[in-house]
Amino acid sequence: MLACEFEVISDCAELLRRLDHMVPRPAQPILPGRQYQLAACRDGGGYRLEENGRPIGRERDQAAAARTLFWRMQVLALEAVPEFSRIHAGCASRNGRRIVAAGPARSGKSTLMARLLFEGFDVHCDDLVLLRRGQALPYPRRFFIRPEAVALIPQLAARSIDPFEWGGWDPGSLALDPLVLGFPWRIESGPVDIVLFLERDTCDTARLEASPKHAMAERLMFQSTSPAGGPGDWVRDVCALVDRADCYVLRSGSLGASVSLLKEVLESESA
């Protein structure tokens, strides 16, 4: 996971299988510079958790232990890249043009990104993008799809799902691995061509509205967090992102209409 390499050991095969359905395995050109060994071993009625031989906690069952280890991996992976601003967004590309789609929780980022997988896009992440000096680095995490959103993606709904895939961070959510679905999954830093801000709409269609860049910067600041360098670097990162990209607000009440609009705008900009 980015700059971190994890080895997980356990005396519980079921726990490892659960974790196996949570961890991401995209191709990434970044070489790990930190190694961690995480362990979950049966102890009394629960599981004793360790990091590099140090105790880090206990959990009562294998599901909770797997989630805690997975959460610890996220924390360590992000701690290893403190110089990046973090923006709550998905990232996808098509024909060499990269889109970052930001928005508040439950604005439909993960659902849109999962649907784009089946629409010919390379989808890199669904929830978190790291920013630095005008470059966007998708954060490697499986796409977490809520049960009610699965029905919005017919190709996904039609597929049989391994019960262990329902192991997303939110209880009952699907932890989707593009590789398992037969799609490429690659994490790579790169410039962004289009920035979208997703807003839910009650209509049954979708509208794409051009946004001034300074207004998009304001929206994105509310969906992002500061790097270790402080607010000055944070503002600089967000401005560098929007300044080179075309910025749109996508007001959507229809996933299909949103996908059509995105394809249209990408084709018109490529022409």
């Binding site: 860049k213 300074h214 910067a217 600041m221 503002v235 967000v238």
Partner: protein, 87 residues
């Protein structure tokens, strides 16, 4: 509004230019300001060498306006004063 003053952009603020405006970080007040193009031009003109009373006419010329935007400049300049971006 003191039209005889010579407003000056305060020192130490971080100005980030985007194509249609500025995003300004003020480390003294720990605030971020999002300026449209007109406000950004006005901030640029606050060098301490331009009299406030001359700013409406300068903007009228810059944007080729039919009328002198006195009210608009006053409101924008007052906002820049209030937010501590000019003194």
């Amino acid at each position: 509004m003191n039209w005889e003053a010579y407003p000056r952009c305060v020192a130490g603020i971080q100005v980030n230019e985007v194509a249609d405006g500025y995003v300004v970080y003020d480390p003294h007040r720990e605030r971020i300001h999002y300026l449209n193009h007109t406000a950004a031009v006005l901030l640029e003109l606050c060098t301490g060498a331009v009299k406030a009373g001359d700013l409406p006419a300068i903007l009228q010329t810059a944007y080729d306006l039919s009328e002198v935007p006195v009210t608009e400049v006053e409101a924008c300049l007052q906002k820049l004063f209030d937010e501590g971006l000019v003194s």
